[in-house]
Amino acid sequence: MDSIVNKFKRSTSTWGDHNMLVNFDVTKEFSLPSFDIPPCHNPIEFLKHNTDEKSNAECRIKFKHGTTTLAFKFQGGIIVSVDSRATAGSVIVTQNIRKIIEINPYLLGTMAGGAADCTFWERELGRRCRLYELRNKERISVSAASKLLGNIVYSFKGMGLSMGTMVVGWDKTGPNIYYVDADGTRLKGDLFSVGSGSPFAYGVLDSAYDFDMSAHDAAELGRRAVYHAAHRDAASGGNIHVYHVKQSGWENLGFRDFDDLHWEYQDQPKPSIIGDVQPMMLNIQD
């Protein structure tokens, strides 16, 4: 009822465009084209932080892979775990970005590096995978999908694409993880972590990894590894998403907020690395 009334409540006055006239700035509209500069004291210095002028004169904007993503194989398939913080230089743009891209119901791609590059090219990969399925009447293998992405990315080598992604899925040969990089690397492996937080994640992952873990333990290990990386790395944080890839496709195991996880882990006693030592209770004063 209200919506019908509101339709006829609108003013029919031609002065409805009054605001536009008042804000119309001739100097701005007809001046030479310009672009936004960062609203800070010294925009040149600010931009210098985010550009890398020396390594490649033709392509100066260099993105650091400010993220933590990881994927590993175990007896029950593959666990993929990522954080969700997006940074632009020293500013956190959002704590809530999706770094796992669902290419199709049985293929996942992770994002590290330039967000636009990753999402665009992984969606393009999804399109090509679908074309393959239609042409060949069978699902594309993870190896072929990663090769497609790798070749696309290699053709742009040196032009400033920035992505470090893992193509993860379950095909005829079983679970597979392929790491594909913007400089053309394509590696097949059982355990990868990509991003600025990856060394921290590797530490936790390598020390507690066991192929025969249960699915629950594996998900918890993935979550824990990203938590530790997000704790130490400034460019990782937000929420921690975990996906489980099984033979029937991937399953989203949801996400946990990093801060909540932090207090939950603080309350737990630290695990003992050798069985016979009593776990230590942590008393954090701050």
Partner: protein, 188 residues
């Protein structure tokens, strides 16, 4: 290195990016045909791309003409492709070693090809930082007619030297032999 009737190659197996070792069982070689093995090193994406390109062209030649290319022919072809790439807009930054056994003349061959399009036939060769340590060992101990056991001993000495003096911990090595029976991986 070449021996009496075989060639022996060693490559390290770490795939690294700055301080992280992504993978420590990476095979940095490709079999061009039954008797010719190509080892590659250089920029990450370029290496595999160029190496696969050569491998597939060699295979195409064999399918078209029904004859296996000799090591010398593959090396000449590869050098030509490398020279074309150097003269292009964006050269491949890849160094190669082509090691093979020529079934027509029953002789082993080893070719050192670098990213500028140089092709050198050598009894023993190395690419990369490892060359600084191992070439002198090969200079001292290598003879053209060594047996496989002697070659394995020299290879072991080279690897030990790298483990002692090279500043990064090379996580593993893949040793392969190419002789009249084909290419196989061996343990030393």
């Amino acid at each position: 290195m070449t021996g009496k009737d075989f060639t022996l190659t060693i490559s390290d197996t770490a795939a690294t990016r700055s301080i992280i070792v992504f993978k420590n069982d990476e095979d940095k070689s490709l079999e061009l045909n039954k008797h010719v093995l190509m080892l590659y090193s250089g920029s990450p994406g370029d290496t595999l791309h160029f190496a696969e390109y050569i491998q597939r062209n060699v295979k195409l030649y064999e399918i078209k003409n029904g004859i296996e290319l000799t090591p010398k022919a593959t090396a000449t072809f590869t050098r030509r492709e490398m020279a074309n790439s150097v003269r292009s807009r964006k050269p491949y930054n890849v160094n190669l070693l082509i090691a093979g056994y020529d079934v027509t003349t029953s002789l082993p061959h080893l070719y050192w090809i670098d990213h500028l399009g140089t092709n050198a036939t050598m009894p023993y060769a190395a690419h990369g930082y490892g060359a600084f340590y191992t070439l002198s060992i090969l200079d001292k101990y290598h003879r053209p007619d060594i047996s496989l056991d002697e070659a394995k001993a020299i290879a072991k000495k080279c690897i030990e030297e790298l483990k002692t003096r090279f500043f990064t911990n090379l996580t593993g090595f893949k040793v392969k032999v190419s002789d009249k029976d084909g290419i196989r991986e061996i343990e030393i």
